[in-house]
């Protein structure tokens, strides 16, 4: 399913009509290396926010004309996607992320055809000074959207965007919790999240409601499967999740951006909506691209206390530096608490990596 067009939606030329018949506006794509981009602002401006996630099935040759091959392949895949698909989007908002992405903005500015390429500087810190800066950045983003598209981001629209975002997150939390009790494949979990990151909030809510009904009626957690916690670089393609299933692993908790980080917390729905956005983004579980390691470890350990697991799988996408830096110390600290941790590096490929499978299988056999 292409980004921006949800199941049940069909292109109308100027926008998309969803299953309820309401006309949706066009899409603005956003680029962030974790969960840094306040998509709710795009939503409130009248556009469907679409996270650029690349396509593992396509060659990165287009991006490789401009970026060396020792850059994170996911980020190269996003450029590849933008080079071919930017015409589908009204614009692109690029959030401050990691070393593999921050300077990419300049390269995109030269080569990606779009009427609106915007840089959003989300801070790496979370103190009061950073929060004030974040709010100013939000105001700057709103002003830029209003100027570019002749629209007005009204307070009610922001409020409504936060409310709907909360609805999505609430349902995702419910779905996520079913992973440890029901027969839900790793792929299904990732796919429902990626669906939410590339669809209107209404379409996401509808899809989540139907998934909830269906998952609740599923059989129990399959005997013989191991319950795992998943951490490390973000996983953007379901084939890796299939591989885990093939190895007898079910991911029941995680701290990924295409995962629990996206829905672990909610927006406050009262008070000033911009402050609510600031609070939310300053308090979501920390990715490796932001300060601090302690925050990451605490979130993982808290989840591990809440949900019993057999082990932790820490994986690193080849050339993904932020998680590679964290992995040694984070994994050591998790091990110190008595958990078993397997760390491995993976390529950006849909093809089954037998070496990775062998390592996982050998590890699970030891449990």
């Amino acid at each position: 399913m292409p980004n921006g067009v949800s199941q049940g939606e069909k292109p109308t030329g100027t926008g998309y009509t969803n299953i309820t018949g309401a006309v949706h506006v066009k899409t603005i794509a956003y680029f962030d290396s974790s969960h840094d981009m306040p998509e709710e602002v795009i939503d409130a401006a009248g556009f469907i926010p679409v996270k650029i996630m690349g396509d593992v099935h396509k060659s990165n040759d287009p991006a490789d004309q401009y970026l060396p091959k020792f850059f994170c392949p996911a980020a190269r895949s996003w450029l590849t996607e933008a080079l071919s698909r930017s015409g589908d989007w009204e614009g692109i908002v690029f959030a401050h992320g990691c070393d593999a992405t921050n300077r990419h903005f300049d390269v995109w500015k030269l080569h990606v055809q779009t009427p609106f390429l915007y840089w959003f500087n989300s801070p790496i810190k979370t103190d009061a000074v950073a929060a004030r800066f974040f709010r100013k950045e939000l105001e700057r983003l709103i002003a830029a959207l209003e100027k570019q598209f002749g629209t007005q981001v009204m307070e009610e629209c922001l409020r409504e965007a936060l409310r709907k975002s909360n609805e999505v997150k609430k349902r995702l939390r419910e779905l996520s919790a079913l992973r440890s009790t029901k027969d839900v494949s790793n792929r299904e979990y990732l796919e429902i999240i990626t669906h939410c990151l590339s669809s209107s909030k209404d379409a996401s809510i509808a899809a989540l409601d139907s998934a909830l009904n269906e998952w609740k009626s599923r059989g129990p957690f399959p005997a013989g499967k191991r319950r795992f916690y998943l951490t490390g670089s973000d996983i953007t393609y379901p084939e890796f999740m299939d591989l885990l299933d093939e190895c007898g692993i079910r991911v029941v908790r995680d701290d990924l951006s295409l995962g629990e980080r996206y829905f672990a917390t909610s927006f406050t729905e009262t008070g000033d909506p911009l402050n609510a956005i600031v609070d939310y983004y300053m308090n979501i579980p920390r990715p490796a691209t932001k300060l601090s390691i302690g925050g990451r470890v605490d979130f993982i350990l808290k989840s591990l206390e809440e949900t019993p697991v057999d082990a932790v799988l820490s994986q690193n996408l080849k050339f993904c530096e932020p998680y590679a830096y964290d992995s040694v110390i984070v994994n050591d600290e998790i091990r110190e608490k008595g958990f078993r941790v397997l760390h491995l590096e993976r390529e950006f490929t849909p093809v089954t990596d037998h070496q990775v499978m062998n390592r996982i299988t050998a590890f699970t056999e030891m449990l």
């Binding site: 990691c98 300077r103 500015k109 840089w119 800066f133 830096y325 964290d326």
Partner: protein, 435 residues
Amino acid sequence: MNTTTTNKNGHETEKAAETQTRIQTLPHAGDLKNVMLWYFLRGMLATKLPWKKTAWTGAGFPIELLWAYDVFPLHPENMATVAAARKQSQRLIEHAEGMGYSRDLCSYCKTNFGAVDTGIKTTLGGIAKPDFIAITNTICDTHWKWFHIQARKFKVPTFVFDCPSYVSGTDEKTMEGYVDYLVEQFFEFHVFMRKHFGRNFDESKMRMVMEKSDRLCALWNEIYELRKSVPACYSSAETSASFFPLVVLPGVDVGIKFFEKIRDDLKKRVDRGEGTLNTGKEKFRLMYEGIPFWYRMKFMYELAKYDAVVVYEPYTYSFGPRKPLDLNLLDTLRHVARTMLDLPYSYNLEKRIGYFKKVIEEYRLDGVILHENMSCRPSSTGMMDLKEAIQRDCGIPVLILQCDMNDPRAYSEGPVRTRLEGFIELMEENRRRGS
């Protein structure tokens, strides 16, 4: 005696025999040893005396702030280069990889992880545990990721300046907003120093430090002006070491005296119409972008074999931005913030292209070497566009060398030589076409 070889295209390439053309070092080049000795001895004292405080810091951090608080700056990146020069980096990097750190991570960082874990001597690139860590993300995320990991192990406090990225097309109003954010963090830094070490901010000390720092930078700028002379009076073979005072000593006298001597040596050389090549037969003036191969500094010297000299490096130039002094404290901080956000080493692509073109013209360059550094993704981003813009708009060849500044495993002697010789041929051809 010059040797003549014929390449596969039938073009003749003139090569000076290795023994003949070489870099002649400046009379006072050796004084750098004394400057380094001063720094290392002071550092040793600072780490031993309980009332002294030390901080680990890195490129892009305003070192003056540390000197103003009487904090001695320890510099893990600098020590990593020492390890490479002393042929220790590979084993330290491999040690860090043995600890679980990926091959793909910055080799400075891994050299440091290895150095700390093995407890290697300072003279070989080791470094003492600091009282705190002070770093910024202005150049790369590696800096704060690496330091944060070490701070967690050492259980010492950390202060990170969060610098927004100044991307291509950023307007002045937005830039001012970024400066505001950094200035607020300067005040946070004062709170941090008071809280952890009971140290108060001394404005007159800060002013004195800034004056000295600017004096050091002014001298570096004078040296860079002299480098415009033809033949080239000072090559990267020397500057890659001699810029050391800018890394850790802005704000103290010792570097100033050294730079004054270097500047005077250069003036004499220029007045006499002499160059850094002993034969005086300078043929190709080059820019080298990126960090040198610290484990193989011979690369810079060997360029002389081709009568080529690197006369400009954005890397060493970046360490010497001027600090205007006729400003009040707040304006000074705003200025420091601006230089943190907008250093030549980390210029955004649009600005970098314009900057390179200007330097190519002013320094009359014949070619550019870009070090596409596998350790350093930030500085390697946009190099292909940079290469294309220079070749297209300046009409000079650009060589991209994919290597690593501290990991000798990424340097292959044969391929580097072959590519370098191809580049020299291109410059020859350019020269022929031009004349």
